[in-house]
């Protein structure tokens, strides 16, 4: 099962792999640290960081989140569902530095969804583009296509000067089909939004292809609210997702219904 969700009936587990990709120093590790900080201890594991002395990511960072299916859904939906399925989400970051190309490919392998962390600074435009091309090339080598891969884009470092304006980002977002989020990961802003945005697009695709909701014994629209609850968030998921620019818009309506 290369490149798609891993379903382990024996272990009653579904494993999702999400990858945070992007140019060097765009804040991928900072996103993970913030996510770690913003979520509750019961559902997240330790943040594993493999970094060098100068705080640069050497191989990757990994944050595990474990969600247990709640038995809130009854009746026909739950028929034939193995009891106590667990959804394990592993979030990885790749090393952004150019020289770690082979490690990036290794980490990207088997990703179910990708969040591309871009740097909002105007001076970083080229690096963002180069890293995106690198992502496309690596996906191709892994026999994956960027078209089919659930993808969200985050413009990080909104707190800095000399960045692209919100209007510019909105215009850019309307050109592409991916949801675009704004963030200041170092302050924890936009981090949850990006994560839930990614979980949303990934879940939709995998649920469509593998009927994951049925396996977990929940309604399709229940996953995100369930994840939010178990991660100890007080913000409503629909509110989180509504901060996105571009992308498909039906999602918000679906979740809040």
């Amino acid at each position: 099962m290369r490149g798609i969700v891993q379903i382990n009936f024996g272990g009653r587990e579904i494993a999702l792999k999400l990858v945070y990709y992007g140019p060097a120093l765009s804040g991928k590790t900072t996103n993970l640290r913030s996510l770690h900080h913003l979520t509750t201890e019961t559902s997240r594991g330790r943040l594993m960081t493999l970094e060098t002395r100068d705080d640069r990511t050497l191989f990757f960072d990994m944050l595990p989140l474990t969600l247990r299916a709640e038995t809130s859904v009854t009746g026909a939906d739950r028929a034939g569902t193995p009891a106590g399925m667990t959804l394990r989400i592993k979030i990885f970051t790749v090393p952004g530095q150019v020289l770690h190309a082979s490690t990036r490919r290794l980490v990207l392998q088997g990703a179910d969804g990708v969040a591309f962390i871009a740097d909002s600074q105007i001076s970083e435009t080229e690096h963002n583009a180069a890293s995106f091309l690198d992502l496309r090339r690596n996906l191709k080598e892994l026999n994956l296509s960027v078209k089919e891969l659930p993808l969200v884009i985050q413009f990080n470092k909104r707190d800095l000067d000399r960045i692209r304006s919100d209007e510019e980002l909105a215009a850019l977002a309307s050109r592409g089909r991916e949801p675009v989020f704004r963030a200041s990961a170092v302050n924890g802003d936009g981090v949850l939004e990006t994560f839930f945005g990614l979980l949303d697009v990934t879940w939709r695709k995998l649920d469509r292809e593998h009927q994951l909701a049925k396996l977990l014994g929940i309604a399709s629209t229940e996953l995100l609210p369930m994840a939010a609850r178990q991660l100890g968030l007080e913000t409503d998921v629909a509110t989180l997702l509504s901060s996105c620019l571009g992308g498909t818009t039906q999602r918000t309506a679906e979740v809040s219904s």
Binding site: R2, Q6, N8, G11, E13, A15, K17, G45, R46, M48, L50, F59, F60, M62, P64, T66, T86, R88, K90, F92, H100, S102, T103, R105, L106, V107, Q109, G110, R137, E141, L142, N143
Partner: protein, 491 residues
């Protein structure tokens, strides 16, 4: 160019995603043992750690005096073994924490060890005495008739006592310490695996590139060979009609076809001279392709180098005079001895070098040919370490062609002997030449077992230094081996 590489062979997911992590892979057993021992030292309660696969990873079992006493009786020993066996086999249950009683009144706690939300092993704590057990239970006294109640009472008092909540507190602490150890172990495990995977992946990419480069190199080599063949064929085909052109124009000048007017003679002489130039260019190309394909034949014999030099000077003296350049030579014939070589080819070498020197030296300048004996390591460039292990020092004849010309920039020194290379393409127009001369000279010198290099001639000008092995000393070892008569230089 995008390199299409096969997908990497190691998956990161294998390292961190699935449930195949084994306790044995993540901990250092000695370290774990030490941790458990310090725990026992602190609380007096024995600790054992089993992996999911049943492996005993740490065992700090200490035999309490009561247990030792019970074990002295036949039935007591049997019952003790049965209890220990049952504890070993018992699962931590759904809750991950069960109490297992012993017939002595003591108890064991069996706790699930979890890592990353999965059970990876069991922690067995005990035996310890719950506080409510104050005197020997009937189950202990009835196990064997030999058990003495008073003695049992005394030894019971020596057993460590712990309340359920105390044990919970202690084991929670131990479990969190273990969790940290497991996390560190896991991290190191992943790091080293990842390191290996990255290195393997980089190596695979490098191998791929090397194969491509080798392929490109082989193709270029083949192209080069084809080019040489083509050059040889074309040169040969050009030479034949050119010989006729030169021959007929010569006959015209000599009046064999009737008397020509002086102006006509001038024209035909020009045709003859240009034909000669063309022929020498074609000969150069032929020489080069012969040397590249290894088909140039040379007749090697002892040659006196000063004789070659004299001939070169006398041939080129008119040219030098015409350009106002002073041409001179110095050689001590008595010390020079002989070199082994093809005199015709050696003459070609020095004609070429001296002609070049004259060409690039302005009038009033000078070109000097100087020959002297040197030792093989006498160029000062190599250090003489380990020379004792190498071949005996050979005597070399060194011929220096020194000019006071325009000089050659140092950065060009490495490329000047490449075929068709010219320091400055504008010099072709000003000074003429094909860029073949020096590459032929270098190959000829090397096929004589010699070397050629460039030096500066401050304040201006260039020195070409040719060294050739002398025949007289150790001739059998050196020059014969390298250049047998009728030899073919390396192709």
């Amino acid at each position: 160019m995008t390199i299409e590489a096969p997908p990497p062979s190691v998956r990161v997911d294998d390292l961190v995603l699935d449930g195949r992590l084994h306790l044995e892979d993540l901990v250092d057993r000695d370290g774990l043992d030490e941790l458990c021992r310090s725990f026992v030292a602190l609380f007096g309660i024995p600790v054992r750690i089993y992996s999911n696969e049943g492996g005993l990873l740490a065992d700090t079992a200490i035999e309490h005096e009561l247990c030792a006493y019970v074990n002295t009786t036949v039935e007591g020993r049997k019952a003790c073994a049965a209890t220990v066996g049952a504890v070993k086999a018992r699962d931590a249950g759904e809750s991950g924490d069960v109490l297992h009683p012993c017939f002595t009144g003591a108890a064991y706690r069996i706790l699930a060890l979890e890592y990353d939300g999965r059970r990876v092993g069991r922690l067995i704590v005990g035996p310890f005495l719950p506080p409510q057990v104050t005197e020997p239970l009937p189950s202990l006294l009835s196990i064997d008739a030999a058990i003495d109640k008073d003695r049992a009472q005394v030894l019971l008092g020596k057993m460590p006592r712990a309340k359920a909540e105390t044990v919970t507190r202690i084991t929670t602490h131990l479990k969190s310490a273990l969790d940290l150890i497991l996390f560190s172990g896991h991290k190191s495990f992943v790091t080293s695996k990842m390191h290996l995977a990255s290195v393997r992946e980089s190596y695979r990419q490098l191998e791929d590139k090397t194969a491509r480069l080798q392929e490109a190199f082989d193709r270029l080599k083949e192209l080069d060979r084809l080019k040489s063949n083509f050059l040889a064929t074309v040169s040969h085909e050009l030479r034949t009609p050119l010989t006729s052109i030169i021959g007929y124009s010569e006959m015209l000048v000599e009046g064999l076809a009737g008397e020509l007017k002086p102006e006509q003679i001038e024209f035909v002489k020009t045709i003859h001279a240009k034909g000669g130039q063309l022929l020498s260019l074609i000969m150069s190309l032929l020489d080069l392709s012969k040397m590249e394909s290894g088909t140039m034949r040379m007749t090697m014999r002892p040659v006196r180098i000063e004789a070659v030099m004299k001939e070169v000077v006398s041939t080129l003296l008119p040219t030098a005079r015409k350009r106002g350049v002073k041409l001179q030579m110095s050689a001590d014939a008595s010390s020079l001895g002989e070199v082994r070589g093809d005199p015709e080819r050696l003459r070609q070498v020095f004609i070429n070098l001296v002609e070049n020197a004259i060409k690039f030296t302005p009038s009033e300048g000078s070109v000097t040919l100087r020959a002297a004996m040197v030792d093989e390591d006498g160029d000062g460039g190599d250090d003489d370490a380990g020379l004792a292990l190498l071949a005996p020092t050979r005597a070399l004849v060194e011929v220096r062609v020194v000019d006071t010309g325009i000089g050659i920039p140092k950065r060009e020194w490495g490329r000047i002997f490449d075929p068709f290379y010219q320091v400055d393409s504008s010099s072709t127009r000003e000074y003429g030449g094909t860029g073949l001369g020096l590459s032929i000279v270098k190959r000829l010198v090397e096929s004589h077992g010699g070397t050629i290099r460039i030096e500066d001639n401050p304040p201006r000008g260039t020195v070409f230094v040719v060294t050739l092995p002398q025949t007289s000393a150790g001739a059998d070892v050196t020059s014969d081996a390298r250049a047998p008569a009728e030899s073919r230089p390396d192709g």
